[in-house]
């Protein structure tokens, strides 16, 4: 899922400094699961902003709602009735949700309440870790199911580099060396010979370099 974290309240407040009434839109997708932008977080943020503004003698009126998913026009349309009389819309979705709201509500000031961090999963309750670099050309079948693109601090394909020691990355004793993990896993699977295969340079045109990427499934298109 997409992992996001709320921006500092001061930053969010400064984005809507000149507004009297705002709509806060949560999202029931990934950001609900990672406890950043679900119903609860939306209500807490609304209350926090109201209290802050009240203390500043500039009361703020808030409206809250939660979209099933902000990354789908079908669900964004259902917000039309909430938006009419507000000065700004605060999205508690990932960066995709913010953009979908801005595209739908062309005359509204739409701002992000979250920093979209990465694609990852839960480690333990309250801790998430990045697992996918969105490179567009998955290599996990060659690396024992461990992603070197995002888990290696240098994204190298023929690791580990000379900075790997005691299983840790050179950048920090708290960061596991992805290539050490790959080595151990391939060894356990009896596939160390695979690591001797030279991996050629990656085709980064499949990653972020070519403008926004599209994925098309003609077989499921309607009309």
């Amino acid at each position: 899922m997409i992992i996001a974290q709320q921006k500092p309240i001061q930053d969010i407040a400064s984005m809507i400094d000149d507004c009297n009434k705002v709509l806060l839109v949560g999202c029931a997708g990934c950001v609900t699961v990672c406890l950043a932008g679900g119903e609860k977080e939306t209500d807490i943020l609304a209350a926090s902003l109201r209290i802050k503004r009240k203390l500043e003698n500039k009361p703020l009126e808030t409206v809250t709602c939660v979209a099933t998913r902000q990354c789908d026009p079908e669900y964004v349309e259902t917000l039309d009735s909430y938006v009419k009389d507000v000065d700004a819309v605060i999205s508690l979705a990932c960066g995709v949700g913010v953009q979908y709201l801005a595209e739908r509500f062309t005359d509204k000031w739409v701002v992000p309440a979250l920093n979209t961090k990465f694609i990852g999963g839960s480690v333990t309750h309250g801790e998430w870790e990045e697992r996918c670099g969105l490179c567009g050309d998955c290599v996990l079948h060659r690396t024992g199911g461990i992603c070197p693109i995002i888990r290696c601090s240098k994204s190298i394909l023929n690791g580990p580099c000379g900075g790997s020691q005691y299983g840790k990355c050179e950048i920090s004793k708290d960061v596991e060396c992805a290539w050490h993990l790959i080595y151990e896993r391939m060894k356990a699977l009896g596939k160390l010979d695979k690591l001797m295969e030279y991996q050629p340079p990656k085709d980064w045109s499949k990653s972020r370099d070519g403008g926004p990427r599209k994925a098309i499934r003609e077989d499921v298109m309607i009309g």
């Binding site: 601090s153 240098k154 994204s155 190298i156 394909l157 023929n158 690791g159 580990p160 580099c161 000379g162 900075g163 790997s164 020691q165 005691y166 299983g167 840790k168 990355c169 050179e170 950048i171 920090s172 060396c177 050490h180 080595y183 151990e184 160390l192 690591l195 001797m196 030279y198 991996q199 050629p200 340079p201 980064w204």
Partner: protein, 308 residues
Amino acid sequence: MKTESKLEKILASGEFAVTAEIGPPKHASGDGMKHHAEMLKDHVDAANITDCQTAIVRISSIAGGVHIKEKGIEPIVQMTCRDRNRIAMQADLLGAYSLGMRNLLCLSGDHQKFGNHPTSKNVYDVDSMQLIHLVRRMRDEKKFFSGEEIKENEPRFFVGAVANPFADPFEFRVDRLEKKVEAGAEFIQTQCIFDMERFERFMEMVRQRGIHERVYILAGITPMKSWRAAKYIGNNVSGMIVPDEMVERLKNAEDPKREGIEIAIEQIKYIKENVKGIAGFHVMAIAWEEVVPEIVERCGLYPRPKVD
């Protein structure tokens, strides 16, 4: 010879080669590098110019190479994968060759976190293994990284790489060295050797697989200035091992700097006599270039052989 490199000729002659390292400054004058080059030129066959080591901005390796070449030392240009994409790398490779550089050392590069621009973005468009392969392909098949033909004047570098016997997983270090040789590395400079026992185990595995017969391995030697420096490196630099005995020896020495030089000399003599499969020495006297001549002389590596 495959290249015009003097280092290649010396290594091919079977004599021990000696290389040193000259660190470029954090300013825009090459005078210090030229001074070090003059100091070292009779005692080493070639000198590495580091490429923004520890990710600190300095005079570039290629520009540094021009400075020291002017003073009569053959440069070994270092190229890390940290700062350039494949377009910039090739532009620099063509430029370096056009300026008379004949040796290239391919490395991953230290992470930018350690340097003076920790908020920068690293590149790693290609990794060190791929760089080795692609630079060899430029020379041997006259092809750009993309596969496009280089119609004339292809860069013909003598291609080197690094090996770190002190990084982990230990058993894979020999595999990775072999992988670099397969990719096209012709000479290897090792990380600084402080843990001789581990280095010998590494070399034993290298010899068992005959890798030393396919590539020239230069043992990395670094004289230490103080026990604090030794301890700091051992504890804080990932991929380096400094045995406690060495720290203690420096700590108990009356003149620690002198002791550091003595240790480096002992290491080279020991390797020359006892560790088979070593083709030369890479003396990395970090910010202490002036001690290299004494070390070279006292190890019986002076005068340096002359080659055409």
